[in-house]
């Protein structure tokens, strides 16, 4: 076999093979542009010191969108109920602080993530056997069930009036929360960085490759003996845990949480952000959440009605003309520039 290969391989095939090997080896290396979002995030801290409360909300939504990207962009699971896990994390942190007096922030979000991840694993095990409309409905129904159950026991959850006036210990026992949200912003940024590198690691791992295979052709993955269901449940649980961490951070930075975190609208909005940014490319979550939040902040103050109309229009345009989102457009433009420079 080996001898045969050496005799039949042409120089061109040899070069192609080398290029492919190099591509595979270098695929997961960090590239220079990847530093850009982080530099911008740090720069924002110095440029807009009075908008840090808003800034930390953006970072939290990026994290939440990243969790959706992991299952939607990577594994192709279409869900309109991901707010369920965000809400679970948010309420875990809130209730732990209120009922158990557990107000240490970092262990709080870890607990939120674990709770959401555990529920995600159990729910995922049941619902990920299905696809298409059935799966979509099950995810919606699950989030709605949580919301209604929370409303049923509004003596514990505070119902739609929420749980106000939560307070948390200083970060790491040292950093106090200031009125302008500076601590919260850096806290959220640090957590986001940890989560991001974790997600990036997963996406470029063999496990991530298997997920891509499931997204592209689930039958073939079954046929080659890949444990499809186990992999989907695993990634669903991980994604749920990340959503839970984002939810926990949301509670901590707002010191307030209501049952509206479980809204269908929240799940739909999340989906819009990710689509706007571009699915399956990690930084799509950054672009999408940032652009969406900033536009919402500016435009919904002008006219909520026109804002909603614009979002609808954007979605339609994105589906019909820019299926890879803003990040896709930017990448495309980048490649054009590269070609132009080389020429």
């Amino acid at each position: 076999m080996a001898a045969n290969e050496t005799t039949t391989r042409s120089p061109a095939a040899e070069a192609a093979r080398a290029r492919a090997t190099e591509f595979l080896v270098r695929r997961h290396y960090f590239r220079l542009p990847e530093a850009l979002p982080w530099l911008i995030a740090v720069a924002c801290f110095f440029v807009f010191p009075d908008r840090m409360t808003f800034g930390s909300q953006v970072l939290i939504m990026i994290m939440f969108a990243l969790s959706l990207d992991l299952i939607l962009g990577c594994a192709g699971i279409v869900t309109l109920g991901h707010a369920a896990f965000f809400g679970l994390g948010a309420y875990t942190v809130a209730l732990a602080s209120m009922k158990l007096g557990w107000s240490e922030p970092i262990s709080g979000i870890i607990a939120g993530g674990l709770a959401a991840g555990l529920v995600g694993a159990v729910v995922g095990w049941f619902i990920l056997r299905y696809r298409g409309l059935t799966l979509l409905m099950l995810t919606i129904a699950f989030a709605a069930t949580l919301q209604e159950s929370g409303n049923l026991r509004s003596d514990i959850t505070g119902g739609y009036d929420g749980l106000p006036g939560l307070s948390f210990n200083p970060l790491l026992g040292y950093f106090q929360y200031d009125l302008y949200g500076h601590t919260n912003y850096l806290y959220a940024l640090a957590v986001l960085a940890v989560i991001f590198f974790f997600v990036r690691r997963i996406v470029y791992s063999p496990f991530g490759q298997a997920l891509t295979g499931i997204r592209e052709n689930i039958r073939r993955m079954h046929a080659v003996g890949s444990p499809v269901h186990a992999r989907l449940v695993t990634v669903y649980a991980i994604s749920a845990a990340i959503a839970g961490v984002a939810g926990g951070l949301f509670t901590q930075t707002n010191a307030f949480v209501t049952l509206t975190v479980f809204d269908f609208d929240a799940s739909a909005k999340l989906m819009v952000m990710l689509i706007l940014g571009g699915t399956g490319r990690l930084y799509g979550a950054f672009v999408g959440a940032f652009v969406y939040m900033v536009m919402e902040d500016k435009l919904s103050k002008l006219s909520p009605t026109f804002w909603q109309f614009g979002i609808g229009l954007l979605l339609i345009v994105a589906v019909l003309f820019a299926r890879r989102g803003l990040a896709g457009l930017v990448e495309h433009a980048g490649r054009r520039v590269q070609k132009w420079v080389k020429r």
């Binding site: 979509l136 099950l138 699950f142 049923l152 804002w307 109309f309 229009l313 979605l315």
Partner: protein
């Protein structure tokens, strides 16, 4: 009449009326989804549009309620055709995700448009005298409007049943739901069939929207708020099945009414619980194909 029996009759009666609303609004969605496998989240928007047309026709033009219902459904049916022709058609072969996004985008735009013209305040509709008050059936009296809903629903079910089971076009639709490619290859124009059922389904949704005003009040968020209910009816009943949609509407309508009566605080919890249980046992719904 004993107290308990009286309550049971009320629950079944209100549940039936609710089920008829659910059936009328969802049946079109079920058939179009069964035909093309298209996830249409803008269905609620067509229902909402129907509701607002009824409001305008009765309030501004002074047309009576029943005629307004007919005109509004016909109008929405016609309006839905270009949407199907120029937007939906492009995505028949796309993924679920893209269909979800396109139609959610349409729903958002519809909500914004109707908020702009009608405002966010709930609208009501003037009913003719014979639909107000109660109707006495000998052993007890029932609210007239709900009785009207049940009668109308029963009539529509009979008509649809006949059209679906006995006519040529119904046979074509059933064939296309069963196997679209086979149906196309024996000479059925599936595209035209789909446009037709889409228009019909949207018209029925508009009728449901018009009927819902008296039950729930009408706000622009109707398009998304009740959409989840319609999707649940469709998923639980099984795509493309008239029988399944009816059964799902009945089960959900009656159990939800009973549940809300017994545990008012539970809200829609019963509906979601039924959905989860049914779909876990029968993922394709009552009469869907596995």
């Amino acid at each position: 009449m004993p107290h308990i029996a009286n309550i049971a009759v009320s629950i079944v009666f209100d549940g039936l009326a609710y089920a008829m609303f659910l059936f009328i609004t969802s049946v079109g969605l079920s058939v179009t989804m069964g035909l093309m496998g298209f996830v249409n989240l803008a269905h609620g928007a067509f229902a909402m549009a129907g509701g607002y047309f009824v409001v305008s026709l009765t309030r501004s033009l002074g047309i009576d309620f029943v005629s307004s219902l007919v005109i509004a459904s016909a109008a929405v049916g016609v309006i839905s055709v270009p949407f199907e022709r120029y937007l939906y058609r492009r995505l028949y072969k796309s993924t679920d995700l893209e269909q979800v996004l396109l139609t959610i985008g349409l729903a958002f735009m519809a909500i914004a448009t109707f908020t702009y013209f009608y405002g966010p305040i709930p609208k009501s509709v003037p009913l003719p005298a014979w639909l107000q008050g109660d109707v006495n059936l000998g052993f007890r009296s029932f609210p007239s409007y709900r009785a009207f809903l049940i009668v109308l629903g029963a009539a529509l079910i009979s008509v649809l049943w006949y059209a679906f089971e006995q006519t040529n076009i119904g046979a074509k639709i059933r064939a296309a739901v069963d196997n679209r490619r086979m149906a196309a290859s024996v000479g059925i124009n599936v595209d035209r069939l789909f446009t037709l059922t889409f228009a019909l389904g949207s018209a029925l949704a508009a009728l449901g929207g018009g009927l819902a005003i008296q039950l729930f009040g009408l706000t622009p968020s109707f398009a998304v708020l009740y959409l989840v209910l319609f999707l649940i009816v469709v998923a639980v009943g099984g795509l493309g099945s008239l029988k399944g949609t009816l059964l799902a509407a009945l089960v959900i309508g009656i159990i939800d009414t009973g549940g809300k009566y017994a545990f008012p605080v539970a809200g829609n919890l019963f509906i979601y619980a039924i959905t989860v249980v049914v779909l876990l046992i029968k993922p394709a719904g009552f009469y869907g194909r596995e």
